[in-house]
Subunit: 198 residues, 2 copies
């Protein structure tokens, strides 16, 4: 920056020419990246399994029937929960693929910068999908928990308590998965930033 003459040997250039093949610049966080992606895989898989296994049959009063009729509550009774399972399944598959790709980058780091760019792009899309799914399932689950007096939507969690516990846990895990995705994007962006030499 503050060099005044061009004929003097540049100290920066001297440091550069000592290494014949320059190693990848910047700091490599691919080990952290793999760890976070494995965590993401575990979280999304758990969320999908917990939501899919949310099933409870309870005897409830049905208008017109003289006795309580056993009625099952399943996750696929709500479109929001179906979308939730679909989105989290996509994120789960994505986390496997990218964790393997990250392992590949650790083994052969020449394409590290390209991978960071693509990770940041795709992670953002997956974050959007997972966050929207978490929001949708959360919004519907909240109605199930509290009901809505204005639209006379009755709460269902007083009857289907275990079903609601499953749904609630699944949404909490999905929220954790969203946080992991945010961290992954920040990690990619930060790694890219650390490669810029100013």
């Amino acid at each position: 920056m503050a060099s005044t003459g061009t004929d003097k040997p540049d100290p920066e250039a001297a440091t550069k020419s000592e290494v014949p093949h320059p190693p990848p610049k910047g700091i490599d966080y691919f080990a952290v990246d793999v760890g976070l992606r494995v965590l993401l895989f575990a979280a999304t898989l758990t969320a999908v399994v917990v939501m899919s296994t949310a099933k409870q049959t309870e005897p409830v009063f049905v208008p017109g029937a003289p006795v309580r009729v056993p009625i099952a509550a399943k996750f696929n009774h709500s479109p929001a929960f179906i979308y939730f399972v679909a989105a989290l399944s996509v994120a789960c598959l994505y986390s496997i693929i990218t964790a393997l790709a990250s392992l590949g980058v650790i083994a052969k780091p020449i394409y590290a910068t390209k991978f960071l760019l693509h990770y940041a792009f795709w992670d953002v899309l997956i974050l959007g999908i997972v966050a929207a799914a978490t929001g949708a399932a959360g919004g519907v689950a909240y109605i199930g928990l509290k009901g809505n007096s204005h639209t006379r939507w009755t709460k269902v969690c007083n009857v289907y308590d275990e079903f609601c516990r499953h749904v609630g846990s699944s949404i909490a895990i999905a929220l954790f998965a969203s946080v992991l995705l945010v961290l992954l994007i920040m990690l990619s962006v930060f790694s890219l930033h650390s490669r810029i030499r100013e």
Copy 2:
């Protein structure tokens, strides 16, 4: 890179020292950035206004009352819609601040790289908030539109048609805002990537 001696004048160092203040490396997309942020501001503001003005009073049958009672539907009757308005308001405020900051970077580009890093970090958080809000409002609005026979949640959009049009438009605009945020993050990441000289 391929220089063998350290006493020779480095051509790269010569190029550097020709310019007293080196211009920011890489391609600058801050003009696009400002444009997208202004669009984001317009979208989030519209979504908030359209959702806040969703109000409709219709005479409906109430159990126990002999005649139809006029009942108003407002956005704040649903916690999901309240969260939606809050989240989109935050995004609206954020878009103003960052658009001004981007203008500042165009005028004085020495901190461009730092700004790109911070933009990517914060845009991701705002994307998570906006996407979750869009999902939550969408999930609740879908129940309002179609109802849910399993939980006996009746649809309300056959009565409150204009209210539902407002809500639906607002959610569609919020979805557009989410896409804008994804594009903004990709732009920041791509700009950062273009500054890396390998």
